[in-house]
Symmetry: C2
Subunit: 492 residues, 2 copies
């Protein structure tokens, strides 16, 4: 039995109820809300407190100016300090400053207001002798050795904002279009389409048989689309490929969409155009877009704005693979262009071909549809309407979206919905379907979606990290995500 | 050189531009849009086409009634068919029906309109002799052997909708509160806090040194919160624990939130209350909430609505761990309750203690704050204001949110932001900090966040799957996600 202590008396006399805070007002005011709020003017001469990291200090004879950023916007706030107040400040120092929010007297730069500091509190020092992020140009390679710090660089901060903006725009877009957001599994039983190398997990026996990190949520999304008609997911995918290109990561986020009861590619293609345009519209009309342009640098900003406009300005183009091959052959023949590898029916489109189509032929996004069956995975539905020319083979109802400068951005297809045909294809590709008695690791469940109440359906996948690169004008996919993983590199 | 073929002539004479579709109108009309649209009445006597799965067929002498659902709502549409039209229909068959959308003549049931079929097309059969989802009660255990099919059961369909609703509400909530959505990595270098068993990945040498599936995104989120002040993520987490409880999965989604420049738990606690209430408000005022209640069954629906109301109706309570221990001790002493394990200062709160606090003492959600340091991970900041009673030890600035019937739902804390103190704690817990020369796998990067420009910060984590269970009144977490994984089980 516990003794009755004085604290119990106190407790019994209290109600334990906390007062109710408004959660928005209880967080410290962000610098963005000061600089960019429409109320900014009304706040003039108010006493405010801000916290952030010092980006630079200019020390004049009697006064110092510190640029302070809290990452809520890439633009720093200018604080006016006495010499003493600025003493312990250097790049990277975290500070809390209370003062008067005033019309700028110097009137230097784009900023019309500044903070006349009354109280300056150093929260965390940043020794200039050791702090790795000094104010000079640092290569992306160097910054990639500092994943835990590089987000403080304005360009990287902006990428975080941009990525977040894209995600929330996508979420709202799919709500509006009555698509359900789902979570497809990360740990899966099969290595799927045999698409490249996969990671396996240990302990190997934890789930009895070997399990892998998913390479795509598509097959699972198809199971969900056999219950609700429109589904999407934004989930991590993995590839253990030992390539170190600027376009590939070992861990990346895939947006995947699946819709039931569709007979053609038309709804998917229309949805994609609508979706990407909605994202671009959101970016180009919001502060995050302006900040993307201003971190890009002047020359690049012009190109980037052109890119955004190019995505928005007119309906996107569409061409079949067969037509594309002919167009490419003609271009080579007429010396419009010279390809290292000729475009031949039955062979994959090379990057140079894709670039030529998107940049030169269409000067904008183009869907290339109906590729040869031999180039595509087992689950695609044969094309309906193409009349094969002699010498050409079967095609499947699929598409790749090609965009200028980048090439393939999105791929999709209708799926084989007929049991017998799918079974044949799976066997032909050596995919276990559980008829050898094995069940674990087989794709019998996927086949069975066609056994009862099968429907025509289709979908597509988009690499989010690639989209971020494309819309931010960033060359290397290792910048598109905060903590990139690729062969040999998994820092942090 | 390719020959110039006739197709090329055709191609050159075409523009390749597709006409621009509106992506919303090009998808087939959903049953939900017919049944629940405010325009439903205006559509009376219109000819419409719907597609879905047959849920049941009633065959009368001259006419048949089929209930058809497409998963866009749990409510089926009633189609009136001729005997011949209904011939090949059975539960699970997918059909496309065109007909007149009319005022129901029979007037049976809640539905006032029905589809007078003109054309019925069977899309995919469902042989009643083999289709596993027949119209009778099937246990959750049985349905868990059919992960690829069970989403077609109304209760499971509803859980997909509910989960999606929660995600989109969260996304909008955090946009409104100026939090950035981030993606923390899945493959990580350290096994983190040593919190339970972890999965490792193979090939082991792919990243040079052993890597693991993340157990929490918190540490990485802290790195991001050292650049932008408010961040959140909804990411998969993993535990290789061999427990098969109804509250644990091997793969689960964690909502994690981190905010910089906060000095107390107050903003976090207020944010959580606001966040959960926003979700509950969204559910309880929307169709997905009504459908959740109607799949729950009458008795459970009453309880569930009470639960939602209980979350909304008043400010949530707050108590320190020390006060809670005293209150529990008093309750036991006064025979208010009998615990199997007495509540003693320094020991973890047992489920029975948590239940008693949330259900009996507070009859609603309660934040228990400032637990003993010895019970919590290495990264928590010591409490500021508690005056330890003799015999009691140090506490840390943390909280658990306890809710009736379930217990702990959310946990959070302020983080140790002082370099030296954190280093001491990490060493005490045997966590590699890179001072043995090792770098890969060490948490030196985490420590370094405190080296330059450190700030007070804190955050919390919420298991999304547990929240889904709690808000849906579902007992077993294996129902909260479409493809659950737990020890020995990774179907599909």
């Amino acid at each position: 039995m516990l003794p009755l202590r004085p604290i119990v008396r106190r407790i019994l006399s209290r109600s334990f109820q906390t007062c109710h805070y408004s959660s928005t007002s209880i967080f410290p005011r962000t610098i963005s809300s000061l600089l960019h709020s429409p109320l900014s003017d009304e706040r003039a001469n108010e006493t405010v407190t801000v916290a952030g990291w010092v980006r630079s200090v200019r020390r004049m004879k009697n006064v110092s100016f510190a640029h302070v950023s809290d990452g809520s916007t890439i633009h720093p706030l200018q604080a006016v300090l006495t010499k003493e107040q600025s003493e312990n400040l250097s790049m990277g120092t975290s500070v809390k400053i209370t003062g008067e929010w005033k019309e700028s007297v110097g009137g230097k730069g784009q900023q019309s207001k500044e903070l006349l500091a009354e109280k300056v509190e150093v929260l965390g020092k940043a020794d200039p002798l050791t702090y790795p992020l000094q104010k000079k140009y640092q290569t992306p390679e160097f910054l990639r050795t500092l994943l835990h710090l590089r987000q403080r660089i304005p360009a990287n901060t902006n990428l975080l904002h941009l990525r977040s903006n894209i995600i929330s725009t996508l979420t709202a877009f799919f709500v509006e279009h009555s698509f359900i957001q789902c979570h497809t599994p990360i740990i899966t039983s099969s290595d799927c389409e045999g698409a490249g190398e996969v990671f396996a997990i240990v302990p190997e026996k934890f789930f009895n048989t070997p399990k892998y990190l998913t390479v795509s949520g598509q097959l699972h999304l198809e199971a969900l689309a056999a219950a609700v008609p429109r589904v999407w997911t934004l989930s991590p995918s993995f590839r253990a490929e030992k390539s170190g290109t600027t376009r590939h990561l070992s861990e990346f986020y895939m947006l995947e969409v699946e819709a039931a009861f569709i007979d053609t590619l038309d709804p998917l293609v229309a949805l994609i155009e609508d979706m990407v345009k909605t994202i671009v519209r959101s970016i180009s009309t919001s502060r995050v877009g302006k900040e993307t342009l201003s971190t890009a640098g002047e020359d690049k900003a012009v190109q980037l704005e052109e890119r955004w406009k190019g995505l928005l300005e007119r309906p996107w183009s569409r061409i079949t693979y067969t037509e594309a091959i002919s167009r490419l052959g003609l271009a080579a023949e007429q010396k419009e262009v010279q390809f290292d590898i000729p475009a031949v029916w039955g062979a994959a489109l090379q990057a140079e071909h894709e670039r030529f189509l998107a940049q030169t032929v269409f000067n904008g996004p183009v869907f290339v549809t109906d590729y040869p069956k031999s180039l595509k995975p087992f689950y695609m539905l044969p094309s309906v309407s193409t009349v094969p020319t002699p010498g050409e083979g079967e095609t499947v109802a699929c598409f790749d979206l090609l965009v200028p400068a980048v090439g393939e951005l999105i791929g999709g297809s209708l799926r084989e919905y007929r049991y017998d045909e799918l079974l044949t294809e799976m066997r032909r590709h050596g995919i276990a379907v559980g008829d050898g008695g094995e069940d674990e690791g087989s794709l019998r469940w996927y086949l069975e979606l066609r056994k009862w109440g099968s429907t025509r359906h289709g979908g597509f996948g988009l690499g989010l990290d690639r989209l971020v690169c494309y819309l931010a004008g960033v060359e290397n996919i290792r910048e598109a995500t905060a903590f990139p993983r690729w062969v040999g590199r998994c820092d942090c």
